[in-house]
Amino acid sequence: MIGIDLGTTNCALAYTDEAGAVQLFSIPQLVNPGEERAEPLLPSFLYLTGPNDFPAGTVTGPVAGVLAQKRGAENPGRLISSAKSWLSYAGVDRTAAILPFEAPEGVEKKSPVDASAAYLAHLKQAWEQSRKEPFADVLITVPASFDATARELTERAAALAGYPTPILLEEPQAAFYSWIERHPDWREHVEPGDVILVIDIGGGTTDFSLIRAKDENGNLVLDRVAVGDHILLGGDNIDLAIARTVEQTLKSKPDRVQFQSLWQQCRTAKENLLSNDAKTEEWPVTLLGKGTSLIGGTIKAKVLRSQIEGILLDGFLPFVDKDERPARRSAGLAEAGLPYAADPAFTRHLAAFLNGAGVYPNKVLFNGGVLKAPVVRQRILEQLQRWTSTPVEALQGEDLMHAVARGAAYYGEARKGKGIRIRGGVPKTYYIGIESAMPAVPGFRPPVKALAVAPFGMEEGTSVTLPAGREFSLVVGEPAEFRFFNSAKRNHDAAGEMIDDVGEDLVQMSPIEVTLSGDKGETVRVTLETIVTETGQLQVWCVAKDGRRWKLEFNVREKVKQQ
């Protein structure tokens, strides 16, 4: 089994060896022109090599990994980063060549799907070059917050990279599997009735999931009961905030290279000052001089632990009330680009998530490098405790950095019946837009109602047919637009439920425009059937009385959402 953590900033690959033990694979990659080295992670950066980027004869074509990241810091116009965040952003056409987003004219861009495919292809090639075992039985992890479109695009990237059909697994679940793998006695720490919150704070994204443990005929079962929205906020934001604070104290303004170094050193300072065995209260930061005058131009500064704690606790982890909501962006005009979270407070995002889920956890599993710091873990636990009267405790002994890939490999074995499986199913409720039947009014499009087609938690390998009597007119033989919605908040809508007022709880996915086979202008009476495949792919079928069937893909051809 091979588990791949296709991360926003780093990719990792874990596998199960013959004995069934989970191992991490070191990924060979270019670290300098003409120099390959195996590293535990593949940085998720793709550099679109241009003329004169590297010494002649060393590197041609796009390059992924450490070298891409290094050269990209010098020339950002050719660097693709955060491809995964773009993959989940419905505001752009994700199959169009749009990255790097701010590339100068003349650079041949790539789509978010192609960039993701490049990382996956690198991993496959690296595996095949250094190991004998076939590249088969692959699991790829995705954020729990990925909607059906983003999942389908991930599968497409895998297909482009020459993968066998992969199984997708949600990252917080993978982190939980990894914890199970590390603790053979885990059943002593989890009991029926427990609600476990998985908090995954990566470099650029944050993901929440709730897992409930319950007793079913004497067996412990785990149900994933809620997943959060996709939040573009992570450890990099914290490091950047510290770097900006330190920058204020410098005598001269750092240039691009120096600021990169400052950012890096602030991360090191944060990790060291906040670690369990920190011995000092401050950490020196040295920006070496520009050009060849190294000593002469050296700028010295220091970061205080109190400074970092202030930024963290006040800016990123303030105590909030359980009904607070994250601030929204208020500027009428914003730079085009990724929809970064407007509110930096992790706690406020967490409050909104738990409020929506309507349950509060009594156990917490942490994942991601940020959560190494005891002060951060402590703060989150304290915050959770303020919201509930049941005692809240953390599950101990997790692997913060590699849990997702390791957990994916473990889950691969679990699927073969060699371990417990978390019952997840569809992470959101999905709806299809239905145009109301009403008299035409000039200038007005008939209002759209939303029909629930896949209820939250619908399990892999099952299907539902919408209640009898619910028949619709399907236009075939000519281009027709289909609109899909999803909701992470309305977890109780059953299949067939019709919502007249598409309010804020429903998120519109990119509309798709397709021409379904049939005579031009023909309208067919159909019923709807929803299938979730064994690999977790969601499909909606229109079924006519005469037996004809049409599949509505979530992402046949994307049209950019009108914002």
Binding site: N32, G34, P55, G57, P284, L294, G296, T298
Partner: protein, 171 residues
Amino acid sequence: MAIGSAFRAFFALLGGNLPEDIAKEHGYIKASSVPKPAPPKPTFTPADGAVQLLSILQRDARLVDFLMEDISAYEDDQIGAAVRNVHQQSREALGRYVSLGPVIDGVEGDFTKAPSSSAGDFKLIGNVPASGKAPGGLLRHKGWKAEKIELPPLAQSQNLKLVAPAELEIE
């Protein structure tokens, strides 16, 4: 090992390929019973390996910038701040490509038996007997030797005299 061959070995190590005769002599590779076809003419000189190591230390740690700078005018704490940085990065870079170990793994200051290896690996200092030989002495310096060198291969196309490229920023 004669001085000549020691130098040859050192620079060859920098370049990543040890002459076969020397490698065999020191047991780095096993003598092969099957005669190999004549190796292609060496295309790189020892100097190429030396420049490569310099360029790595400059690239990863800016060591050449540091060595070439006139530091006489700067205060100690200014130098100290920068040196911590250069030292740490040089150490990391060196460690990635060269594994260094002591020639004699002992405690400095203790009486230590002289190794049986050939002269050149160690030297006798102080009241050295006329024979130039002694069973042992006080270990004053453990010595250093490169135990493993893994430098990336050089390409014929690259500028072998280049230590660091100039940088031009487009505003």
